[in-house]
Symmetry: C2
Subunit: 217 residues, 2 copies
């Protein structure tokens, strides 16, 4: 269950804006660590190679406006962004498919720092069920609904082979998850009302290889 | 070094097309495993929830056209896509930052299946240098240029903390990599002629959390 944000009302932001906000947050954290107190839109724009008017627009969605000449107060802006992005709140997740990529995601402590708490792994392999991977217990798919309900799981992470991606997504949706984070290179369909996020890291490889092949010419 | 594609001339495809091609490939592999011989654009479109005219357009970039009524021959289309996407060729890479995310990427055998061969890890931590992670040797940053040159490395994978992302990217570029795959939530700048691919998995979390918070309302 994703806890409700008590300070900032939830508003639907355009996806490109949402993707840029973590860049701003990362940059502001660096500035705060370096004891910088104020930062202008122009400086953020230079550092991140984003248009200054785009930054002002993105932040205005959150009701944040800089002061003329002074800009933004670094720590306050960082706090507002962290709060809005909900990285400080816990979002419970299960990961379906604990093979190579699934196990890798379980090993990434970074996800925890961004508010994602993976409470269980689910795998068809009887050699894995009953064991723990990085301290996370692995169950057979029969237990999906039970775990989702008892652990307030809102997010199902898909890291299964392409062939079983849709079936795994179907059983996650049936178990009651509210969002599916799809790491497979496959497209999946979800019932209406279920959020789908696709992170196909292999698709990014396709783009990179193509651009590299053009350099060679 | 990314070997040159000998069969298909390299052409610059739009990024959205390049991102969809691996979906088609994944679907075709599933069909071939199920001994399906021919597939129509309409069927692909239904399975992947992509507009049929979009699919025809994407494939025509590769000079592939289906036959009226019959559609595409599954195995031939799969082969052409695999060839074009260069997943069967080896692209040598180093990974800078062998902490949580870096080690996770080293553990993902999936990358190897998509043509990415990570030959070395690079880390500032003296506790890691000289060791192996999943069979991959870890070196100190002093050895970056030497490894890039001797192992024909074309891709540098960035998995360092935000604070050191730009500096690490700079030394990768100086060492001669042709592409940087940035997994940090930070924006980085690269010299002209160096390909940059951003895969900020945490940005996808930002989008997912926002969409989830709207469901709660």
């Amino acid at each position: 269950m994703s806890e409700k944000n008590t300070t900032t009302p939830s508003i639907q932001l355009p996806e490109p804006t949402l993707r840029r906000l973590p860049w701003y947050l990362a940059y502001l954290s660096t500035l705060r660590n370096a004891d910088v107190e104020y930062i202008s839109t122009t400086r953020i724009a230079e550092a991140l190679d984003v248009d200054p008017s785009q930054i002002a627009k993105d932040l205005s969605f959150l009701g944040i406006r800089g002061k003329t000449r002074i800009g933004y107060q670094v720590e306050a802006l960082e706090g507002k962004l962290r709060d809005f992005l909900a990285f400080d709140r816990r979002h419970y997740a299960v990961i379906v498919g604990c093979g190579s990529l699934g196990a890798a995601l379980l090993a990434d402590k970074g996800l925890e720092r961004y508010g994602l708490d993976i409470v269980a792994g689910i795998d068809v392999n009887p050699g894995l069920t009953g064991t723990q991977l990085n301290g996370v217990p692995v169950y057979s798919p029969d237990h999906t609904a039970e775990i989702v309900a008892s652990c307030h799981v809102s997010i199902g992470i898909l890291a299964v082979p392409v062939e079983t991606a849709q079936a795994a997504a179907d059983s996650l949706a049936a178990a009651g998850v509210k969002a599916i984070w799809n790491f497979t290179p496959s497209r999946i369909r979800v019932p209406e009302g279920v959020v789908i996020a696709n992170t196909s890291i292999y698709s990014h490889l396709a783009v990179m290889y193509n651009r590299l092949s053009l350099l060679d010419q």
